[in-house]
Amino acid sequence: MEKIKKGIGEGGKTLKQIKEENERLFRETGCYAGITQPYLLRADPIKAELFHSRIMAALISGRETCKMISASPYVREVAELCIGLYTADGDNIIQSTGIQIHIRLMGEHIKWMIENDYEEKVGIEDGDLFITNDPTIANMHPTDVYDILPIFWEGELVGWVCTVIMEMDVGAVSPSCMPSANVERATDGLRFCCEKVGSRDQLRRDFEFHLEHNLDFPDMFLLDRKGAIAANIRVREEVKKLIDEFGIDYYRRATRELIEEERRNQIARIRQRMVPGRYRNVNPVEIYMAEQPVSWLLGKKDVIRLIPIQMNVLPSGHIVLDFEGTGEWGWHSCNVPPKALWGALSITLVQTLSYDGRANLGSLLPFEIKAPPHSLLNPDQVRYLAFSNSWVSVLDTFGIWMGMLGLAYYLRGFREEAFTLRSGSGWQYYGFDQLGRKRAMLIGGPGAMAAGATPVCDGLSGWLATPEVDIGNQEIWELFAPYLCMSRRFHLYCVGYGKYRSGFNITTMDMIHGTQGLFATGAIGCGSDGIIPNVGMLGGYPSGRRITMLLRYRNLPELIANRQPLVHELGDPVEFKRKFPGEVVQFNHMPPPIEVREGDVLAVASSPGGGFGDPLERDPALVKNDLDNGLATESIARNIYGVVAQFNKETESWTVDYDATQKLREDKRRQRLARGQPVSQWWKKTRERLLSKDLDGKLIEMYQSSMKLSQNFAQEFKEFWQLPEDFSF
């Protein structure tokens, strides 16, 4: 008689049985794992708090361990990593500090292994090492690599620990990390599909050979693995100590209750801080592929895709994010892979709703995401597509959604929580470094954006929703790429104006130096160029166009020899190009590869979030403060804020003329009333324009694409403009 093999989960169950049972209980009760009456954590809150803190401490110490071992500045300096503890069936219990995107995404890989019978067909044993980054399972892009380690207790699998690290090189087509000149899967580089790459806590040597033969810079990747594995082992051992101390029954029940309690708390927070209803906005994504050197010729076209965003805050305290009307997917790397929207949701939620250190799967359970099939957010041909740049489509979308959440807080009175953000941008380099080695070089740090204004104060400067911005040592990149850091300065002119203004983003300028041949390209998570994202709040303006520039001096050697000053900031937007002593080329966010030479300067200025409120209502004292600190010009003060001020040379400060300011502001309001027309008049003219299809061809194609996928979108468009039923573009 054949022996019935026991599962590796609790009480001899298979992981699949555990997973299916918990899913059934959630369906039937609406409570995570069927926990309709949490009792354990509530019975002894001090013990519960200690339990939570001990796990969190283990995760954070694991993260620090990883930073010590890794060599990549992305880990050591930027700290773009995170560690999570998961249940046996892949549900996140606690997430470390760090980049909290992957709360659910890492768990999806565990679930995928369970669904695909790894327990039986691959084998899961204590000390096994798994690696994965496959976006067709769940990921933002393949450069985020997950290391996964099972945790066993007395022969039973009780959980998993996962570490995510963003890699500088995954063996993709140049520039090898987040290339925009790629369409097909293979150009994404190495893809690991939950592969077992080690056992007894050791990486297999053949896996190391695989990396050594398939990456431009395998040392960096391997040391990251060793850092991640060490971190995971450290957490695993701490968890075992914890089980020793608290008992396995407490561990099993308490970890599940942490998720259910967070689900309940999230609903309570939504009901406490928001107002139910329908909130709407839109994010148009510009995707420039026509000039990209791709061999898959179907990909060579420029398109704009609408992403309408509708947030329904339901009376039950649940939230539905509906993206109906989103345009079609395409042959480029900006489509969004399965589950990636949950990653963007996670990083947004931990900013203003789930920021108490308790974020886990429970934070996400009150949410539903509707991504239309065949759209940019839910593409076909998933197995064949590259996914290196999904952030292009989602970062501004969720920056705008942050503002929609903010409006819901504002309505309820929690004004301090409302703000917007915009995506960053940057250069990626590839070619030969200062030592002559062929290298991929993704530079962290240019993503130093700034937060939009809040309804109670100006936005934070140099802010980003990820750990990137607090990189203290920007010059570290000089060791990894052949350039000199010229400057990192606030960009004075790119501001979301308003009663409260946005913060200032940090412009980065780097001078190419010491290379034997270098190329550059763009697109790091930015999806806007000609259309600025709609991030102004309640009368505040969105900030202007984000900047990617190549500056080429006419006579650099002479300037240096004569000790003449070089340019360190982008300066006045009107005068800069005219005054720069050489050539200035402004690119969109997806420039095709260009060759850069010794002395070339590459400049990046991300754009901050939007302003809040009418700029004419900005307190003149705040305008004076900006003037005194060199954060505004006399022209901005007068033209945007309606503030009249004079510079006093003796005191080296500005003085506001309050009477002249009041008069100027009254004049400006009168001008508004004179130039403003009833919306009905403007509506009539625009309607005629639409009927005659007098729009840029890219916009016509954009509307066609959304209407093709969504009858509701087409119907609402026609209803708003009162177009004939048979109207189409």
Binding site: G277, G413, F414, P455, V456, G539, P542, E575, R672, E719
Partner: protein, 181 residues
């Protein structure tokens, strides 16, 4: 957790130092915020209708007789709250380089072939109520359609008299515009 009305007023008026704002951000939230918020707003407006919900720095949904309308603090009325109030505003559209460069000069200027920036003013007091940056031809965005009855009934536990159907009535306005063409 609770804050005094004076502290909240100072917060809303931007008079609290950043350290205190940060503390209010980080701490657990106060359950009585909404009622104090409405009381502060009600004191600020020169008219007597009950504010049900703010929609912006100058706009409110108010109870006017048996109707709920959107009203500016200057007294301008924008109609039923279920119609997009923007349709009752004065609009100025920055749709060419010259107009866009007044806000976004030089290299910051968006592409006027693709993008327009719409400014919505109160037609009575000229305050800038909302700015909208969208692709040319995109319908006016109806940013917020609050479910006021569910909010008062289910979340605040004090239902409003004469509940209204929660639905978007904006297209009734554009239908009338077309009929008058």
């Amino acid at each position: 957790m609770s804050y005094s009305k004076e502290d909240l007023k100072a917060l809303f008026e931007g008079k609290l130092p950043w350290e205190q704002v940060k503390q209010i951000m980080s701490r657990p939230k106060d359950d009585d915020r909404f009622d104090k918020y409405i009381a502060i707003l009600q004191e600020r407006v020169p008219w007597n209708e009950q504010i049900l919900l703010p929609l912006g720095e100058h706009l409110y949904v108010v109870q006017k007789g048996s109707e709920r309308i959107v009203k500016c603090d200057c007294g301008q009325e924008f109609g039923d709250w279920r119609q997009n109030w923007k349709l009752g505003a004065a609009i100025f559209v920055r749709d060419d380089s010259q107009k866009l460069e007044e806000i976004y000069p030089g290299y910051l200027c968006p592409d006027p072939n693709l993008c327009e920036v719409r400014e919505y003013y109160c037609p009575r007091c000229g305050v800038l109520l909302q700015v909208e940056s969208v692709p040319v031809g995109y319908p006016v965005i109806f940013d917020i359609l609050p479910d006021i009855d569910s909010f008062y009934r289910d979340w605040l536990g004090r239902p409003l008299p004469e509940e209204k159907e929660f639905k978007d009535l904006t297209y009734e306005v554009t239908r009338k515009w077309r009929e008058s063409l």
